[in-house]
Amino acid sequence: MGARPIPGVDVGAATDLAVLKPFDPAGRTVHDPLLMSRFLARFTWRHVLAIGLVFALWPSIAHAQGRFSYGDAFAALTKWIPLVVIDGFLFNILISFFAMGIGTAAGVLLGLMQISPSPVLRLPAIFLTQLFRNMPWLVLLFIVLLAFPFEVEMFGVIVSFPAWVKAVIGLSLPIMANIAEVVRGAVQSVPSGQWEAAESLAFTRRQTLFEIVLPQCFKRMIPPWMNWYAILTMATPLCSLLGVEEMINLSRQAIEAEDNHPELLVPFYGFALLIFFAYCYPIARWTIALERKYAVKL
């Protein structure tokens, strides 16, 4: 990682003293909210080199069973890279931007509702959060796909919902729920003494929340927020199952146009893997770096 590791943050705490670990009554391993980013960020240039070597050697290891060689397959891939990246991958990124934007806006609202003193706001918010957090993403995508009409007429104007818009909505629901948890967790992580102190200074609840608590939360919400963005980006290929013309679907169609040789599968899907990794890896490194930075200033 370059920088000196911080005990207790990214390496185990080295101490002989008794340390109070987070208590989990069910006895499970304590959940790490940044697991995905930590996993991705652990890749070093050595791993990347090893993966690259496997790709370079692949044609000679796996010998083609027909006249169509792996050389032909890679030549075919080169031809399709512009389409697959520009029309495909950038579309995945676009979907992830929109889903993250909608998910974050709705998630902040839902998160604040969860900490509302009024049960009318709090209880439905908790229910929605748990519902969308625990539903499989693919199920949510299919529900949105089937439940929404493809176009609606509003005030004489026809608004159409193409499949990718439905995919954005479908993906923003689990993001909303998880961001809501991030917001709730961040607000609750601010020591309760601050609430009491603010109250004694005649701050209203709203003033305390918006002027004292949330400004502190903002920084500590950034790493988990970015972590969810990386997870979301890697989930966008799910949209291919809805018929959205994103990277995986275009790769499949390119394989078809190149006559469906099975030798094409590894180059095309391997390329998709590399592109997604190249995009998400810097995000993961940045996430972990930010987490370290803010952890010190606690």
């Binding site: 069973q65 027909g66 006249r67 169509f68 031809k79 399709w80 512009p82 389409l83 029309d87 009409p149 493809f150 176009e151 018929g243 013309e245 275009l250 499949r252 169609q253 390119a254 394989i255 078809e256 146009a257 006559d259 469906n260 040789h261 099975p262 094409l264 599968l265």
Partner: protein, 279 residues
């Protein structure tokens, strides 16, 4: 000549429309009117079925069905928008109105006619066969009983092969994945359209494989308009288009253009609908 044919197609469509005044009362011609109003027809074709409908490296949809769609738009004098559909969503797209017309390698089945408006005469036909390793020496369909067989998701004959011969179909989203599974010996055969298997075998990449059975379920393909408009202007018009493609030999020319093996079906239809005065 071509213009004459198109005029006659339109005239034919009109004749059909006039002869069904009884049904005309129920016809709203919603899609037809929408196409005319917008000056644009949205046609769903395959993007994963070479050479019928697939993408070129620019991302444009091309293929035999793309050419047919172009002809429909030109005849109507409207703009053409092609939308890529998959076997699993093509009928839903038509039902939802996302596409106005579907020309997507769909077999004309009774259960499908209840969902979408498939119009006659069918423009193509294909049968079902398997590709399997020569080493297995499969001779009869019955030998597939209880064995894993690779297939493509959304193909109607998957169910038939399962019910009639007791094969266990493992369906994949893409042909390449299914054929890789066949090579990896995850299944004993790949069940698909005979014309596609034949072109694979002739490519020289499948020398250890064969198409050992006689094709079954020779099934005409149908294009479809929304179900409500099957017996209305749109359906009658598409009947006229297909009749004309058969009569003029346009489909056989497209077959040649896209390197599809000439089928007896198209030749027969061409003779059947030939103009008795043109001889």
């Amino acid at each position: 000549m071509n213009k004459l044919l198109r005029t006659s197609a339109a005239a034919l469509a009109l004749t059909f429309a006039a002869s069904t005044t009884a049904q005309a009362a129920q016809c709203t011609n919603e899609t037809w009117n929408k196409v005319m109003e917008r000056g644009k027809i949205v046609i769903g074709i395959k993007a994963d079925y070479k050479p019928w409908g697939y993408r070129d490296t620019n991302g444009d949809l091309v293929g035999m069905e793309a050419d047919m769609a172009k002809d429909v738009a030109d005849t109507l004098g409207v703009e053409l928008e092609l939308v890529a559909v998959q076997s699993s969503n093509r009928m839903q797209f038509l039902e939802q109105g996302k596409i106005d017309l579907m020309i997507a390698t769909m077999s004309d089945r009774a259960d499908r006619r209840e969902i979408v408006g498939i119009v006659q005469p069918n423009y193509y036909t294909s049968g079902t066969n398997i590709m399997s390793p020569k080493a297995l020496g499969i001779k009869k369909w019955e030998e597939l009983r209880g064995k894993p067989v690779c297939g493509k998701q959304g193909a109607f004959y998957n169910q038939i092969v399962e019910e009639r011969y007791g094969a266990e179909v493992v369906a994949f989203t893409g042909n390449a994945e299914a054929k890789q599974a066949l090579r990896d010996k995850k299944c004993i055969a790949w069940v698909y359209d005979d014309s596609s298997i034949m072109s694979d075998l002739s490519s020289g990449n499948w020398d250890d494989f064969e198409m050992p059975l006689s094709s079954e379920d020779d099934n005409p393909w149908g294009l479809a308009v929304p179900k409500a408009e099957r017996d209305c202007v749109f359906g009658r018009f598409m009947s006229g288009m297909q009749y004309n493609w058969h009569q003029s030999g346009a489909l056989m020319e497209l077959e040649k253009k896209w390197g599809i093996q000439p089928t007896a079906y198209l030749k027969k239809q061409n003779e059947r609908y030939s103009d008795w005065l043109a001889k």
